[in-house]
């Protein structure tokens, strides 16, 4: 399939003896917003960390734009055009907002000042606080910063791990507005969410994951939303 940007096949990742991913296969189409839902502990973060190269897969493959990248180190994965907005944001707390963005552009040798200007237009709050230490930002602002930092590497594929976690409803709405904007501007997005309602509104395709396995794959209309939500929060046994 030529329009598949990310292809994950039979991926197994373990912490010691415990397999958190037990053979995960899924695809993210070029230009789509694809969403991964699932209860806590399903292995969503483990999958994201494995794609980004932070965790090593025990077996299986990850291919990006037709190129095998399972054995690549994180810096090579970033260089090939994949960026992850990690769970819990993980901003550099004692660095200024501006330095956080500079760190996001670490691999770039070209002039990235225009990118910062563009991001400041998209996130005016970050511009106001550009000289402030990231650790002093509110949760929502830190999330914006984490997204902006990831965008500094100009990714073709943006991975987002629960960007709405712990944020007020208004801020969640803003995050989703930004997600749709980024998508409209041509970035492919693979989104992990707990907020199934919002996620199903923006996604073209979604997967359900439970206990380290993909248990459902379909379009947002293909399964009644309350059924999705039930399974996303509680797993299939309820």
């Amino acid at each position: 399939m030529s329009d598949t940007l990310l292809e994950v096949r039979d991926l197994v990742t373990a912490y010691g003896k415990i397999e958190a991913l037990k053979g995960v296969s899924l695809q993210v189409k070029q230009g789509s917003i694809t969403c991964l839902l699932g209860p806590n502990g399903a292995g969503k973060t483990t999958l994201m960390m494995t794609i980004a190269g932070i965790l090593r897969a025990r077996s299986g493959t990850v291919a990006f734009a037709g190129r095998e990248m399972t054995s690549l180190r994180p810096h090579a994965i970033v260089a090939s055009g994949v960026a992850l907005v990690p769970e819990n944001r993980l901003v550099f707390p004692a660095m200024t907002v501006l330095d956080n963005l500079r760190a996001g552009a670490y691999q770039r040798r070209d002039d990235f000042a225009p990118d910062i200007e563009k991001l400041f237009q998209r996130f005016p709050r970050l511009k106001e606080r550009s000289a402030q230490l990231a650790g002093t930002l509110s949760g929502g602002e830190q999330q914006m910063l984490a997204v902006a930092r990831a965008l500094m590497s100009r990714p073709k594929l943006l991975l987002m791990d629960e960007p709405s976690l712990g944020l007020a409803p208004l801020v969640v709405e803003e995050i989703f507005r930004i997600i749709t904007e980024l998508h409209r501007d041509g970035t492919t997005i693979f989104l992990v969410e707990q907020n199934a309602h919002m996620a199903l509104k923006v996604a073209q395709h979604f997967y359900l994951m439970e206990q380290g396995k993909v248990t459902f794959s379909g379009d947002p209309g293909s399964l009644a939303e309350d059924e999705v939500i039930k399974r996303a929060y509680l797993g299939s046994a309820k």
Binding site: I54, V78, V91, F92, Y106, Q107
Partner: protein, 292 residues
Amino acid sequence: MLDFLQALSDGVLFGATYALIGIGFTLVFGVMHKINMAYGAASVGGAYCGLLVLQVMAGAPPLVVFFCAFLAGGLLGWLVYLTCFHFIPITNPLATLMATVGMLLLIDEIIVHTTAGMPMAYPAMFDDVMLRVGEFTLRGDLMMVFAVSVLCMAGLLALLYRTRLGLATRAVSQQTVAALLCGIRVGQVNATTFVVTGLLGGIAGAMIGASVGTLSPLLTTPLTVKGLIVTVIGGLGSVPGAIIAGLMVGGFESVLQLYRGVTERDLYVMLLLFVFLVFRPGGLFAAKGGRD
């Protein structure tokens, strides 16, 4: 009163070398959350390597000796990284610690064997200069030590806060996973940190040699202990903390040496550490936005 001021100023000037050693410990801790126990010994080792120049080129100017100590310190730092960190499992908290203790003993032994345990004279600059204000004097060599140390600290701060490498170093120390996600090669940053701290250590060792006038293998243990004390008082991982704590410990021990003698003074330095551990266990600057 004059005696007190004299001891204090001499001590603070000399304390700049402690500050450098403290910075070395604290920077490695900040970046890797590991203690490099070999650091004090490697610093003294670097200073000894500076003396090798005099073997090759008798009568070489002190500046050349210092510069060679600086370079040798950096090389030793890199060797310590390779032997004690690069191939050792990082996840085991004791493995690297024990490896660096082993390295400390090894460097110590090498120094003892090559010098037959005898102190060696160390060159200084401006040791014939004395700045007098009434009875109060400022020793030229101590001022040189202070100036060189401050220059190195300024260079380090510029490196940390003005360069791409510094940005990466701060990123790794604050949030290693996010640094990886930004495409920063953490292994390279770790190795560079060891080289940079090694360079500082080499110069610190040379400055100690220059202000004392001799270098002796007996230096490594007290320097390691002082360095760790400075690191803890300054706050683990804090560079400004290490600088202030270094100057403070230098002044403090010099004043107590004046009133209580050289044999007792280290006791009071320990007491100072004790006071900090009880009343301000995080140190002067508890690591902001630390790891957890």
